[in-house]
């Protein structure tokens, strides 16, 4: 097929390849106005222009050739690369816990995708064992790819599928479950699974990697080892996120699925527990709980799977001068629930009030969270807050906006009765609201302060 021969090339560049009859993976001599170039023609990323041809020269580097400079091309050979993570059978070790790794399309192990020039995940126990052989010392691992989507494409259907798959695995008697997941919406999925998989007897650990596994310094391997240790050997039978504690290769944190949030676009230590301390730290030696109270691992298989979700729910992030039509349009489009991320203690401006009244009258469930992320919605403090409550907005305590959004979707998937919705929203499944905020739950240090600099110098970041 023509597409295969000229992988990724289009337009003018494709014409040049066709004209000179040179294939992708063909070794070619290319004569240009800038001199002679020799090498292997590589596929081109679909998003790149059609004015250049990519070539790997003998020293292993890639270069691009401007097609406008090309006067002649000759194919002198052909050698297709076979990109494959070495696959080795995952060894079974008597006495080690059974851990199931459920794949969703994250970057735990990945390989190059010429179509986009980006990395795509590779996933099978054999491949994982080839890439992270240490896993065999931790557990007996089996894997299952439930679906393959990028983190940003995760949707309620995926949450439900995952919850059902987890329920089945627990029934089958696994000792722990690891879910490989892209990091962008890892905390949304973690919240969803907390609500949908209740009272699990074994650890359910969500894990990803911030720096793709195609780099030697990736956090993927260590995160995976930490997650398997947590799932196989840890005592905490909850839905957790397991990611780097510091940016250094030192230890991982286990975060409760409802209190965790991605806080940096690229840092390894991006996931933080908000408004509380993390549940535990984990190293390859085991899990060290930080919190004293958590759900312990059990022998029984009594888990409740509640795979429900109403999709017509939205988060509205308030900003000064927000116009009422934002709310109106949601109502007109049939939205059943709105999470507002308000300013300060949970506020929006007066011009929106009529829209909120209209939404309330239309039966839309509205809950207030805070865009400060840390702290509670305290709507009794100012008149604004009291006005808003009178118009039907319910303060959602210290629930994180994302955790609240997922929860409202999950609740509305089960009931539409305002009182029941309110009861369910305000009754925590697992700490999405907490009655106490520990004073050390809010720690955002600022660099430059002498004692902080001193601390950073001594403690590896």
């Amino acid at each position: 097929m023509a597409e295969d021969i000229f992988q990724g090339y289009k337009g003018l560049a494709l014409e040049v390849l066709k004209k000179f009859n040179v294939r992708v993976w063909g070794q070619a001599d290319v004569l240009t106005t800038r001199g002679l170039f020799k090498g292997t023609i590589l596929p081109r990323s679909e998003n790149d222009d059609d004015k250049h041809i990519v070539m790997k020269i003998i020293t292993g580097y890639n270069i691009g050739l401007d097609i406008a400079t090309i006067s002649d091309m000759k194919e002198t050979g052909y050698k297709k690369a076979n990109y494959k993570i070495p696959e080795k059978e995952f060894p079974y070790t008597q006495g080690l816990p059974k851990v199931k790794l459920i794949g969703t399309g994250g970057t735990i192990a990945s390989r190059l995708d010429y179509r986009t020039g980006a990395v795509i995940p590779a996933f099978s126990p054999g491949e994982l064992y080839g890439a992270v052989p240490e896993l065999a010392e931790i557990c007996n691992l089996t894997t299952e790819k439930v679906f393959a989507v990028f983190s940003e494409n995760m949707a309620p259907e995926n949450y439900k599928k995952l919850a059902i798959a987890i329920g089945k695995e627990i029934e089958n008697g696994v000792d722990g479950i690891v879910i490989g997941h892209g990091t962008d919406t890892l905390h949304h999925t973690a919240a969803a699974l907390t609500y949908m998989v209740q009272n699990p007897p074994v650890p359910i650990v969500l894990v990803g990697s911030q720096r793709s596994s195609d780099r030697p310094s990736s956090d993927a391997a260590l995160n995976l080892m930490h997650a398997c240790t947590t799932a196989g050997h840890g005592d905490i039978a909850e839905v957790m996120v397991c990611m780097f504690g510091p940016t250094s290769d030192e230890y991982g944190f286990l975060h409760r699925g409802t209190r965790v949030r991605k806080m940096h676009s690229s840092y390894r230590s991006t996931f933080r527990t908000i408004g509380d301390t993390p549940l535990a730290t984990v190293t390859r030696r085991g899990v060290e709980p930080i919190k004293k109270e958590y759900n312990h691992r059990r022998k029984d298989r009594n888990v409740t799977i509640l795979p429900y979700f109403e999709e017509k729910v939205a988060i509205v992030y308030y900003y000064p001068n927000m116009q009422p039509d934002i709310i109106d349009s949601l109502v007109q489009n049939g939205y059943k629930g709105i999470i507002i991320a308000g300013t300060g203690l949970g506020h929006v401006n007066k011009p929106i009030y009529p829209a909120i009244e209209r939404a309330h009258a239309a039966g839309v469930h509205m809950y207030m969270t805070v865009q400060t992320l840390w702290g509670y919605a305290h709507m009794f403090v100012y008149d604004t807050g009291r006005d808003l409550m009178a118009k039907g907005i319910v303060p959602a305590a210290n629930m994180l906006p994302e955790a609240a959004y997922i929860k409202l979707g999950w609740v509305l998937g089960q009931t539409n009765d305002p009182e029941e919705v309110k009861r369910m929203m305000l009754t925590p499944v697992n700490d999405e609201t907490t009655s106490r905020e520990p004073y050390n739950g809010y720690l955002v240090y600022q660099g430059g302060v002498p004692e902080i600099e001193d601390f950073i110098r001594k403690v590896r970041k």
Binding site: R34, G35, K56, K84, G117, D214, R215, T247
Partner: protein, 662 residues
Amino acid sequence: MALHKMHPNMNKNFDPRENYKKTQEAAGYIPRSKATQKTYDEIGFMSGLEVHQQLKTKEKLFCHCPAGIYQKPNVFDAEVIRHMRPTLSELGEYDGTALMEFKTRKNIIYRLKNETTCTYEVDDTPPFPLNREALNISIEISLLSKLNIVGEVHITRKQYLDGSIPTGFQRTAIIGVEGEIPLKNKKVRLIQLSLEEDSCREVSDIGHTRIYRTDRLGMPLIETVTYPDMANPDEVKEACDYIRFLNRSTGKVRTGIGAGRQDVNVSCRGGSRVEIKGVAHTRWIPELTHNESFRQWSLLMLRNRLVKEIPDHINWKISQLALDYYDFNFSYKPLKESKELKHRIIAVNLPGFRGALSHFTQPGKMFANELTERLKVIACLEIPNMAHTEEFDPVVPLEDWESIRKLLGSAQNDAQVLIWGPEADMKTALETIEERCKMAFAGVPNETRKSFENGTTIFERVLPGADRMYPDTDSAPIPLEDKLITELGSSLPQEIIDRYHIMKSWGIPEDTYTYIFKKDLFPLIEKIVNELGYSPSFVGRLFGHKLKYIEGHSKPAAEFSYKIVYGLLKFISEQGLTPEIAWLMLPHVYEHPKIDFESVLISIKFKRVAKEQLFGSVPFLKSKFAEIQMSEKKNNEKDWIMGQLRKMAIGNVSLSELAASL
């Protein structure tokens, strides 16, 4: 006991010193001073270069941290620890070095300083767009190097698992391929020029902990790679100097310690490409390449011997035995310390290797060093980490070796080594010994070696191959249009080889050229000659002899710029002084760059004397000389009078004119 004091191998009729000497002779090793082209032709000397040069940009290559600000090894604001794992290359293969580095299980610690490090250096954020200033400089240098400029720059990741770059790879991009540089007698072909980010500077590397600082990390660096066209050590230096001078001729590269470094690839006929890394000075190159070519030649001699003596070398294996410290009473300090640390001690038998351990490799080094050095790098055992049966000055007594041989069941022709260290490292250590010994049957392992000023090298890493390349998925390709290239090409400096010929035709003495090129002074000399009318030979000597001498012997109070010399010469000609006075003024100007030239005249006690007055005193001096002369030689009178007048004359009249008048 008398036996104790005897040479350990004496009773076995084997003298390691003699064996060393014999193998050195067999390899035909002679000191470089005695070597000729014929020497190098006989062993098939071949060498190529990878010349690295930092570019003078304000910021780093992929982030906005300042470039060129350095930190002290033990001054830092934070530390980050990382481990490196091998990943697949684009072609789906693991790289040999990568696997070796993974074996070493190093804790890599980065020392960060707020001023020079952002989240990019610690690999916690993807790269920012490539520094255009750096890209343009690298294109200019590529054009000067007659390279074919690529149509599109692709950033490639080149894996380095030693930790010298926190990502585990170096972002690097080819700018041009297939160029050439002219040497005095031949042309050297260039393979490519790449633009890349510089690596971390190592602070220390002890056991399983390697510490780096990140100040230099990410600074723009170019690498010019030649074909192995150099046929003797001096040619390698000449080519390297040429490339460095070419880079400097743009005035857009950094100078100073570490700003230019080269890796030198060497092989002999039948040998392997060995890369001598990070050679700091080009003057080290001849000795290093000479020794490396002979190290390889000698390893081939060893191979020939071993292959003949051990026909079944495919199945060659070491055997080993853990020793109990209490069965021996070692007095060697490292062994006593090892005992206290509860480290393991293992005796290893190397079948048929008698004579191999003391086989000559480099001046003062033998094959056993190849094992020791690998044990340090791969198994993380600090040196001294090994004792063996062919040491010149044995650290383990003969009777102990005898017992060890018995325990191992060694044969007469076997050699034995003793290693010690933490239990966890012993498996790798044994593998390392066996692996290196087996390589001796094949000849010369591909490796990178670290250089020393004395011309010797030690093992650094297994030589990485093209298998460690991977496209950088974090950055998009950058098209290079003809317009940009033409524009950059229009303001290039003259070629070094042309400047060489110009200076020669000007009569500037050749011994000043290295200095002039190194400091990129040609444009300034040309300007002085053209604008101020000085004789090129005078200006060349003023820089290449006088200023070079001054620089080596005094320190300026403020920053000295070479442009000051232009000002000085302009002042001299405007004042109607003769050029020679520059010789007297320059040392003062160099030491006090901010002082005005009039004051310099005062401090050298210069007095203006009219030409007539000077010439007028000649008759008086002549009669004076007649009174005091001791012999009748003709020049005596002239020399004496010149001596009397020189000081007064300098600056006022031309000395040659004065001499002619006598």
